[in-house]
Structures are given as structure tokens and as C-alpha cells.
Symmetry: C2
Subunit: 266 residues, 2 copies
């Protein structure tokens, strides 16, 4: 790590780290360790699990922000009562008092490839950063377990972050969705730039009765992939590549726009 | 309204209605009234306000679903303890037991143009429907007030829904983000197909102290538009057009994908 007095320190990038599994998750510790020495790291993460929160923001109640014990020695850490997107917004205004040079989110315990990008708090935090002109990367490991082994993941995280930081000019809206297969390092074939696979969940709610005889439902579902392309993230991960999907926040469907302009009559 | 015994009844479209302001909001009543007679309407909406919930889903706790009093005479209504996206998922599996022919969301109290599409529960419900191959439209009125006058909005809602329903073939992933200016009907110039304006919020958290002397923060922010195009929804609304932005759930940035494929070296 650069010392505080060296000339380099002034230029070292500020790296904001967040996640959606909460500040106590092993994945965010692994991410912080993976990029140690690449800049000044500040962690601002939810104080509880926030998986599936998508791009939710907290507008109906106030937010709390507390200094937390370092998850890695010497790293400034904060826990926030809000969503992953709240964490990004709040850290810029109230922790860093500036935009960081890059925002990293994860490492998520579980896949965020394909349509999961829409539901994922991890990826929504990254997308929020890119909306705010902060280049960002969300990382996910294809293993839900709290005891997941992040050894291989950390190596690829560092390679990708280094690649971005050494770029001459980083696109300020750059946002990458990186998923890492859960196999031993030897088996990973490399990094593949992909598109978001066309896939979705077939919902099946699990219907139960509470002790008072009243119905309740648990959301469950089966992931179904309709995308046969070898350019998709689902294909890449199945074939042991680390998948990288560049993501954008302009949701306009320009093809449909043209079609409507031609065919609509009022 | 078609009678239950007519032949037409069997073919009438099933219209699912939801929102993010909750089932008691005047906006969802206005939407239900606006499309009366266009099909069999079923309302499944959150039991409390869910603004800003984005594409959040409920995975950490179970969901409740209760039959609710009709918000419009004769309409089947349900309230759900979850998010707008949960409402869409749950209604397909546990209320309708089939996919509706169209899903309508709103009418939201407040604008959902430009980047708001990302944070909006109203639009996330519509987007969820389109992921599930259900054509959908989200409607928003540029007025937050609970006493907002929906008269002009209802007219445009009906025009747009009729236009879609009479199409020979509806794109199953069609998803429209419709915003309606809050001016008298005479002043509305018509309907304009647009792209999502490039705009964002400049956050400013309101810092306060609770009675125990501890800090808390309210999210506030200023909407800043960087998009000067006359094709954007912000422009259309400023010029008293109803804006219609076709929206998609493939977030892949294909331009950046090509760039990375060319320049990345590992």
C-alpha cells in the first residue's frame, strides 16, 4: 500500500465498495482483500441482507449511517440502514464528499447473470454508480453458500479492476456485470465479454398455512434459459468462463420506438 | 360492459391492474375506471405505498394476499403485502392462474419519465409483466397530490389501451412508459413516442438529529436533465405532449460490448 506521505497517494484512486448481502458477508471481505493496494478503499454497505432489492431506494423513512469495525485491516467501513442503491447515494454525499473513481459491488453470494441483473441489489448499486457518472463493476460468484471459497474469484476480480484502472480513459457510465463460475481456478477458461442471456423465472409460489390457519406464500421459481447463443452470459458460465456483461441504464427499446412511430394512429 | 353470457365474453381480454401507490390510491381507481368495458379486469395491488421500490422482490419473508373491497363496482380486487413486482408474479400464479392479456400499472401519482423508470415501482411492475411475456403499460401523471384530477389522464389511458388491444398482433414483450402532463385536457397536444431522457438526480441528503442526538438522513435530490433532444420524454412533457417510451429488460450495452471485445487484453 502506498504510504500517506508519498506523492503517489494523492493520485491513488478512491474505490467505493458496497454489496447487497450486507457488511458482514464474507463476499464483501473477499472483494476488499482482492483489490487491496489498488487505491484508497472505503466500504459503505447495508447493515443487513438486501438481496432482491433491485433498484429500491428509501424515501418513506430516514436512513442511518454508522462507522463499522474494519472488515479488512486499515479500511474505513460504514454500515447503512438502507438499500444498496441508498448506500451509493449516501456515501457520495455524506462519507466521501466526492465521487469515488470507481465503485465495486459484491462479491455476491450467488449468480447475477441474465435477467437476475434486474432483481439484484448488487447490480443495482453498480448501475446507480454509473448513473452518477462513476464507473462501476458488480461481481457475483455462482455459489450461494456463506462458506463459499472466493480464492479463484478474488484473482479474477483483481485482474478486471486492474484492467479498468489502467485504461487511459474510463467511460464514466461504464458498468460491468461480472459473474464467476464456482469451479477450481484451473478449470476457469478465461474472461468472456457477453450479452445478457434471454432467460426468466417460471414462478411457483409455495403456499402454506400459518398456525392460525391463514394462507401465506413463499416466492420460488425455476430459472429457464431461452437463449441458445454462445455470446450469452449463461453459455459462458456453463462453459467455465468468467462472464462480463456491459450494462446500461437507458431502457429505451429503440426498435419498438421506430415500429410504434410507423404504425400508431391516434 | 359485455354480459357474462354473451359470446364475446369468452374472448374478452383479461386485464391485470396494479400500481405502487397501493390499492387505496385514487390513481389505481382512475385507471380501473378508464379501461372499464375493455375486458375482464382484475386488480392486484400492494396493501401499502411502495413508491421507489424499483424491481424489488420479497425473498426473505412470506407474502400475504387478501380479497379486497372492489375499488370500482364489480371489479375483483386483491391486496398483497409485497412489492409491485411481487403483485404481478403472485397474481399470475395464485389469482388468475393464467397470464393476463395485458398488464396495466398506475396511474402513478407523480412523474416516472427519464431515469425515474429505474426507481419506479409502477414501471417495474410493468417491466416484470413484459419479462413474463405479458404486454404491459405503466401510466404516470405529473402530479403527486392525492387529490390530483385524473380526468384528462383517463382519456389518454383509454386511447392508448384501446390502440394496443386492437393491434392484430401485440409484441409479447411490449412495455410502455406513459407519462401524462398535468394540464387541462385542451392544452394537451397529443401523444409522442420518445426515448428516455438522459437525466439524473443530484442527491442532497437532509441531515437531522433525532431526540437522542443521533444523526439521520432523508433522501432528497434535484432532477437535472442533460438531454437537449426533442425526441426525449422530458421535452415532450414540457411541451404538453403525453410521452410514450417503449422500455426493454435487456440491459446489455452493445456499444460498450464491442469496444471491450476490441480493447481488452488479459
Amino acid at each position: 500500500m502506498a504510504t500517506k506521505t508519498s506523492k503517489k497517494t494523492k493520485q491513488e484512486p478512491v474505490i467505493l465498495i458496497t454489496n447487497d448481502d450486507g457488511i458482514t458477508a464474507p463476499g464483501i471481505k473477499a472483494l476488499t482483500e482482492a483489490v487491496a493496494g489498488l487505491g484508497k478503499i472505503v466500504v459503505v454497505a447495508p447493515d443487513k441482507p438486501q438481496s432482491g432489492m433491485g433498484h429500491a431506494i428509501t424515501i418513506g423513512e430516514p436512513l442511518r449511517l454508522h462507522r463499522a469495525a474494519p472488515i479488512v485491516d486499515g479500511v474505513e467501513c460504514w454500515s447503512c440502514s438502507g438499500t444498496p442503491v441508498d448506500c451509493v447515494k449516501l456515501s457520495v454525499d455524506k462519507v466521501l464528499h466526492r465521487k469515488p473513481d470507481i465503485c465495486l459491488s459484491g462479491i455476491n453470494h450467488g449468480a447475477n447473470n441474465s435477467i437476475n441483473v434486474i432483481y439484484s441489489g448488487t447490480m443495482s448499486a453498480a448501475l446507480e454508480a454509473s448513473i452518477e457518472s462513476i464507473p462501476s463493476i458488480g461481481f457475483s460468484l455462482l455459489e450461494f453458500s456463506i462458506e463459499a471459497d472466493f480464492t479463484a474469484a478474488k484473482k479474477y476480480v483483481r485482474m478486471i479492476v486492474e484492467q479498468i484502472l489502467k485504461s487511459k480513459k474510463i467511460n464514466k457510465h461504464l458498468c460491468l456485470n461480472v459473474n464467476i463460475p464456482y469451479v477450481s481456478e484451473k478449470l476457469i477458461k478465461g474472461i468472456k465479454v457477453c450479452h445478457q442471456a434471454y432467460a426468466k423465472y417460471e414462478e411457483k409460489f409455495d403456499e402454506r398455512k400459518d398456525p392460525h390457519g391463514k394462507k401465506y406464500f413463499w416466492l420460488t421459481g425455476e430459472f429457464v434459459n431461452f437463449d441458445k447463443s454462445k455470446e450469452s452470459d449463461v453459455w459462458a458460465l456453463k462453459n467455465n468462463y468468467v462472464s462480463v456483461v456491459p450494462v446500461q441504464f437507458d431502457l429505451t427499446n429503440y426498435t419498438l420506438k421506430k415500429e410504434l412511430e410507423k404504425t400508431w394512429k391516434f
